[in-house]
Symmetry: C2
Subunit: 494 residues, 2 copies
């Protein structure tokens, strides 16, 4: 029923994933009752329409041979995924709420366990493995060792013949990165497009139908399609949820596969469930999320994220990285690639941004760092992404007026939090309570950084459709606003 | 391609929505190129499988008569929705990225506008309506007035015959609520099930296949199905995204329709895009989100929300209400029903909760209020939902030890923010900086409430699978933790 299954199965059909066999237990049970109350579509026909081979096993309860035959048939179909629909009845008579719930929600009770033991003739204690069972299974130990030896010999032969390909394969199997891979880091917002030969061999991915807006094409590769499985640009179509879930699968398949996927930041709402699974399953997917603020302009509030940065900063085990220029973008990709057990959201602007003087990859690796400083500052200005430039310009203005100002890039909260107390104090000294933050999004959560006496500049309503510059003026995300806030605090503290 | 369309269309087929006619412009264009790169399924067959009537217009560019015939045929099919698939070519030759993008993303340029004017023989200034066009259209004014008079007469006749039904219909059309509707507010967490005859006549909705867990059945009504369209319990199946989108449609259809939908709070991740549209479109959908913390127990972290409350508090124009007991649940429903231009997330626990002494509907309407107080408190304890009880018990303990304590229920941040400064100061006096908050979720954002000197107790990692009580102990969401934090602050401030 879930939409994501149609997205994923449509792609499986499109790609002709002949090795994929899915079992559909058509037991007519849902938690609320017989599936007839909400689900009367023809599943067989739908899957055929999606390009699948469909087999129907009518007697799933006892038709073991039919199931075996179905698997055999499915394996023989090499150019399509197969759905084996198995009709089963759960033996309670016609399904009703109580029964269906017990199947879905509850473990067997003591009574049912006892009856099952009786029925199977199983007299042993829980967790006891009888000797004959153990010896029967132990034959796999020798068998497995033989398989492994055979594989190792084959692999050695392969390595001998194709040393370069083998090196690449090893990177993918082990997750080790080739020497010098950092040199291939993109230096501009047109990101991956610059990724050259040194880039991680397991890097692959794509966009949900906005490749050119996201600028995520790997230019030296072609499209991953049915007949070109070696290529690395995946065309997900407008299927964000399926895209993120597929990337989870790729990431968890092998430590050296580094999947990335891309769309507009606001559309993370379509795939948030899969992104949370990345975080929960420690799948280091790289989410390249462009158009990260009202700066998208004309497309209006449906395309303008407001609460999204806050919503990911609140999520456990995911990095929210919002680089301000080319240096920081390179740093963001470096962090994202290195973090194989933690997904990253790299939030990038639509607007072209200038290279700022004080930014660095090393700074990004600390999460937050000083971009401009006058020793012993009276006021700290804090920005992220496209607003770091605004903070820096406000800083310049205040410095010209003789104020002692520090500008801090706060590119990744999670990583800054992990730094030692000394470092954190060196960037944000507790004594300096006059702090102004600026970010074109909800200020929810910024109180932690600016403190009781600070001022967080942001947006607390949905955006609007207008040119980016006009919107920034209208919503008060401006140099003037930062200067005014800083002066207000500055006056208070003297 | 989007999964939500399959969810919605599957339900449209299930319900046999014969009045629904959808046009599918099969122009083979996607932003990234010809749809063939990601979308090769058979759409006709898929929609037939979903229970739709499908008509294919092969020449959509010039086949006006075929399109008219298709609409006629679609209107004649009363028991199924119809998909009219229209094959079109956009006249650029074979689609490529540049062309498709111009169709999707850009307005016509000055040159194309000029060519179109020439082609249509349209010499007028922009926004000029020529006299003959105006008079041609003006005939609709009289026509419309006649239709309206006819309708009014018919309605008066109907009202005369069926005064009660008409009263109900008027409530739905106008959005006015029947006198005394508040008396029907549910007083326990088994919520709507108690809603009696006085409840708003436009209230309808359901759950995404966990009705009994959400306790959202309207007991005096049956299931809304193809042959029982008068009933009000909607069986959405496991289709959260479609469910929320359908509720948006219901809410926007008529001011008096009050749709609610339900699932576990963590599964809002599946429907967040539609929830954001509720907020953006001012659609007062009521989201009944149960199982709102690690308190769900055994189902583990996939079912345990952590960051969700924060993520909705950061979203504009949506109320996040987390009631602590029956009184507050009644208050939450009252606020949700009254707010027709603002959706509500009502976060409810799985755990049974006791009725607390100081709670009230009026309190909920202020967003935050004093539950227990000793005049001139030294410490303020702040809780929401299931943790208000913990805060209250910690308060009792501290009061027994002679401490001057206040316990505050912080049930809805957004509404508290809207109160006047005097009220806010009366609940959270600026002078009392010793504040402890407790909520079984991310503390992200709580710095705003507890301030620089306060302590926010919460969870910063994913949950685990164990009985609720054990998890609360393990993650430190306890009376002892609140008491210890309060004492730490208490000592500091003396």
């Amino acid at each position: 029923m879930e939409g994501i299954s149609n997205e994923a199965c449509s792609l499986a059909g499109h790609w002709g994933l002949g090795k994929l066999i899915a079992f559909y237990d058509d037991n007519h049970i849902s938690i609320d009752g017989d599936t007839e109350i909400a689900f009367t579509e023809n599943v067989d026909t739908r899957f055929e329409a999606l390009g699948w081979h469909v087999i129907w096993v009518k007697n799933g309860n006892t038709g073991y041979d039919e199931i075996r035959d179905a698997i055999k048939e499915a394996k023989a179909v090499k150019d399509k995924p197969t759905l084996i629909k198995v009709t089963t009845t759960i033996g309670f008579g016609s399904p009703n709420k109580a029964n269906s719930y017990s199947v879905h929600g509850s473990a067997l009770g003591a009574k049912e366990v006892e009856a099952t033991r009786q029925n199977l003739g199983w007299p042993y204690e829980p967790f006891h493995v009888p000797e004959d069972v153990k010896s029967h299974w132990s034959r796999h130990v020798a068998e497995g060792a033989a398989f492994e030896a055979e594989w190792n010999a084959k692999f050695a032969e392969y390595e001998n013949k194709y040393p370069e390909d083998t090196a690449e394969l090893k990177f993918i199997i082990t997750g080790e990165l080739p020497a010098g891979w950092e040199k291939a880091l993109p230096k501009s917002l047109s990101a991956k497009s610059q990724c050259s030969g040194n880039c991680p061999p397991g890097l692959l991915g794509g966009s949900a139908d906005i490749t050119s807006s996201n600028m995520t094409l790997l230019k030296m590769f072609g499209d991953f399609q049915k007949n070109t499985p070696r290529e690395r640009n995946v065309r997900f179509g407008a299927r964000e949820h399926g895209m993120a879930a597929i990337c989870n699968g790729i990431a968890l398949h092998s430590p050296g596969l580094i999947p990335y996927c891309a769309t507009f930041l606001v559309f993370t709402d379509y795939m948030r469930a899969a992104m949370r699974l990345s975080a929960l399953s420690e799948a280091g997917v790289i989410y390249v999320m462009t158009h990260d603020s009202i700066g998208v302009g004309g497309n209006g509030p449906t395309h303008q994220p407001i609460e999204h940065l806050a919503s990911f900063r609140a999520m456990p085990n995911i990095l929210t990285i919002r680089p301000a220029d080319g240096n920081e973008t390179a740093g963001a990709y470096k962090m994202a690639v290195i973090n194989r057990k933690r997904p990253s959201v790299i939030a990038l602007s639509k607007q072209k941004l200038p290279q700022l003087p004080g930014t660095s990859i090393e700074g990004v690796e600390k999460g937050g760092y000083i971009e401009i400083t006058i020793p012993v500052p009276d006021v700290i200005l804090i920005g992220t992404g496209s607003e770091l430039e605004i903070a820096a310009k406000a800083g310049d203005e205040l410095i010209k007026e003789g104020k002692a100002v520090r500008v801090v890039s706060f590119v990744c909260w999670e990583v800054f939090d992990e730094q030692c107390d000394e470092y954190k104090e060196s960037v944000l000294p507790a004594a300096v309570t006059a702090r102004v933050s600026i970010e074109a999004g909800s200020t929810f959560g910024w109180e932690k950084i600016v403190g009781d006496k600070g001022i967080a500049i942001g947006i607390h309503q949905f955006g609007a459709s207008a040119p980016a510059q006009k919107l920034y003026m209208e919503f008060g995300i401006t140099i003037e606003a930062v200067v005014a806030a800083a002066k207000e605090l500055y006056m208070l503290s003297f």
